[in-house]
Amino acid sequence: MTETAVPVLQAKSLTKRYGRVVAIDGSDLDLLPGEILAVIGDNGAGKSSLIKALSGALVPDSGEILLDGQPVRFRNPMEARAAGIETVYQTLAVAPGLDIADNLFLGREQRRAGPLGSVLRMLDRKGMRSEAARHMSELGVGTLQNIGQAVESLSGGQRQAVAVARSAAFGSKVVILDEPTAALGVKEGNRVLQLIRDVRDRGLPVILISHNMPHVFEVADRIHIQRLGRRIAVIDPGEHSMSDAVAIMTGAAPPP
C-alpha cells in the first residue's frame, strides 16, 4: 500500500484476549484523511472488538494506537471522545424522551453567558437549538423542521440522522459508525449513506462497520477486511467485486 498521507488513526498489532479466546490477534488498521474506511468481517472476526478499542470502550492487552501520528491510550469512551473520536453505537445512544437539540448536546450542554449561566446554571436553550438546526441542515437533514421534537417521535432513519449529526458536530478527528443502516428500510438506508458521504465531504474521515455489502461498496473508499482477529486485506472497491470481498472475508479466496 502506498502511504501518501499520515493516517489520522492508526492501530498497530492490537491484541485482546478474553481468557483463552483471542478477540483481536495482532490487528492493524489505517484510516487516511478524508476517507470512508469500511470494516467488514464475519461474525467473530474481531471487528467490533477492534472498533471498541479505537473508541475507548475496550482497553487492548498490547499494541499501539496512534492519533495523528501520536500514541494515545483510552481508558474509557469519554477519553476517546475528548481526543476527537466520536462513535455512533448500534444502540444509538439517544434519549428518546428528549428533543433533537437536547440529544445533540446531551452530555455537553452549553450554559448562558453571564450570571444566569454561572450562578443559576441556566442552559442556553436558544443557542443550542439554533446550533442544532444548523448542524442538521448542514448535513442535509432538512425534513426535520422542528428541532424541539422528541426523538421518540422520529423514524429509525431520522434517529440515526440525529446520532450521526451529533458525532459529526463534535467529532473533530474521526467518526466511527457501527452498523448505521442495519435497522433501516431501503429509502432511509440510502439517506443515511448520503449522510455518511456528507460527513466525509466536510473533511471528517469515517470508519464504517457494516454487514451490508451493497452499502459498503456504495460509499467506501477503501475496505478493511478482518478475519480471525486480524486484518488480512485492504481492498479498493473499484478493483474488486462484492463476491471477491466475501470470498476473502470467509477464507474461500486468498487475500490479494
Binding site: A93, A95, P96, R125, E152, S153
Partner: protein, 337 residues
C-alpha cells in the same frame, strides 16, 4: 401538533383519540390538570362550602407535607426508580431535629440544619446502595424504610416531642399569613418555592436533562457521556434533603414531632406522583404535574368528606384514580411514530 415520521408519507387524518394521545404525550400535565379542574367544579356544586377561601386553604395545608415528599419522590421516579422510604426519612428527620432542639439543647437553627443533614445522609445511603451495590431501588428502599422506622422508634423511645417544648423556629412552618379568609402557612410557601426551584432545575439546567436522559434509557445516557451513577446519587441525596424539609413542615402541621405518624406517607407520595402524570417507567413527567397530583388527592379527600362520603370510601376513590392514571400512562406511552 408535532410533525412525525410520516414526513414522506401521505398523512391520514388522525382520529380524535389519536390526536388526544399525541397531545397528552407532548404535554403530560394536561390530563391531571383537567381532572383537578373537573373535581373542583364538581365538589363546588355538591357542597357550596367547598369553594370557600377557608376550605381551600385547608386543602392546601393538608397536602403540603405530601406534596413536599412527592417532590423528592418525583426526582427518583423520573430516573425510573422508586423510594418507599420517603415518609420514614421525613418522620425520622423530624424526630431528630426536634430532639436536637430539645434534649440535646442545640440552638434551633443548628438543630434544623442537623436534621436536614440527617435526612440528606439517609437519602445518600439509598443512593450509594442503588449506584454502588447496584441493587434495585425498590429493594433498597424497602430495606431502609424498615431500618429508618426502627431507628426512629429507638431514638424517640416512641415518645412524641411536644411543639410547646420546642423553640419557635421548629413549629414556624405551621404559622400562617392570613389573606382574607385564606390562611397561607409558611410550610406551604416553602413547599411552593421548592416546586418552583425544581421545575426550573429540571427544565433549564444540564442536571435536569441528565435526570430525564438517565430515566429514559440509562445505557444510552452512559454512552452519551453522562455519569449516570452521579446523577442517580444526586437524585437520592436531594430527595433525602427534601424529605427532611417535609419533616420540618410536618412538625409545624402537627405542632409536635411524633414517631408514630406517617406510615401512609410513603405510598401517598407515590400516589401524588403517579396522579401527576409522571411515568413509573422513568424519563417522562415533571414536578408541576406532581403538585397537581398532590392537590388532586387533597381535593378528593376534602371534597368527598364535605359531600358526606365515609372515610373508607375516600381511599377507594383515590385508589381508583391511581389505576386510571397508570392505565392512561400506558396508553400514552404507546404513541406510534
Amino acid at each position: 401538533m408535532s410533525a412525525t415520521a410520516a414526513d414522506f408519507e401521505v398523512r391520514r387524518p388522525d382520529s380524535f383519540g389519536l390526536r388526544l394521545q399525541h397531545r397528552l404525550h407532548g404535554n403530560p400535565v394536561l390530563g391531571p390538570l383537567a381532572v383537578l379542574m373537573v373535581a373542583i367544579v364538581a365538589f363546588s356544586i355538591v357542597n357550596s362550602r367547598f369553594f370557600s377561601a377557608a376550605n381551600l386553604s385547608l386543602v392546601l395545608l393538608q397536602v403540603t407535607v405530601i406534596a413536599t415528599l412527592a417532590l423528592g419522590q418525583t426526582l427518583i421516579i423520573l430516573t425510573a426508580g422508586i423510594d418507599l422510604s420517603a415518609g420514614a426519612i421525613a418522620v425520622f428527620s423530624s424526630i431528630l431535629m426536634a430532639l436536637f432542639a430539645t434534649d440535646a439543647g442545640v440552638p434551633a437553627p443548628l438543630a434544623l440544619l442537623l436534621g436536614f443533614a440527617c435526612g440528606t445522609a439517609m437519602g445518600a445511603i439509598n443512593g450509594i446502595l442503588v449506584t454502588r451495590i447496584k441493587l434495585p431501588p425498590f429493594i433498597v428502599t424497602l430495606g431502609t424504610l424498615t431500618i429508618f422506622f426502627s431507628l426512629n422508634s429507638v431514638v424517640s423511645n416512641s415518645e412524641t416531642v411536644r411543639g410547646a417544648d420546642m423553640p419557635g423556629l421548629m413549629t414556624w412552618t405551621g404559622d400562617a399569613i392570613p389573606i382574607g379568609d385564606f390562611r397561607l402557612s409558611y410550610g406551604s410557601i416553602i413547599m411552593l418555592l421548592l416546586f418552583g426551584f425544581f421545575a426550573y432545575a429540571l427544565t433549564w439546567t444540564a442536571w435536569g436533562k441528565h435526570v430525564y436522559a438517565t430515566g429514559d434509557d440509562v445505557e444510552a445516557a452512559r454512552l452519551a457521556g453522562i455519569r449516570t451513577g452521579r446523577v442517580l446519587f444526586s437524585v437520592y441525596t436531594t430527595a433525602g434533603l427534601l424529605y427532611a424539609v417535609a419533616g420540618w413542615i410536618l412538625i409545624g402541621r402537627l405542632a409536635s414531632a411524633s414517631p408514630n405518624v406517617g406510615t401512609e406517607y410513603n405510598l401517598d407520595s407515590i400516589t401524588a406522583v403517579v396522579l401527576g402524570g409522571t411515568s413509573l417507567f422513568g424519563g417522562r413527567g415533571g414536578v408541576i404535574g406532581t403538585l397537581i397530583g398532590a392537590l388532586i388527592v387533597g381535593v378528593f379527600r376534602n371534597g368527598l368528606q364535605l359531600a358526606g362520603v365515609e372515610v373508607v370510601w375516600q381511599g377507594f376513590a383515590i385508589g381508583l384514580l391511581v389505576l386510571i392514571a397508570v392505565s392512561l400512562d400506558q396508553w400514552i406511552r404507546k404513541v406510534k411514530s
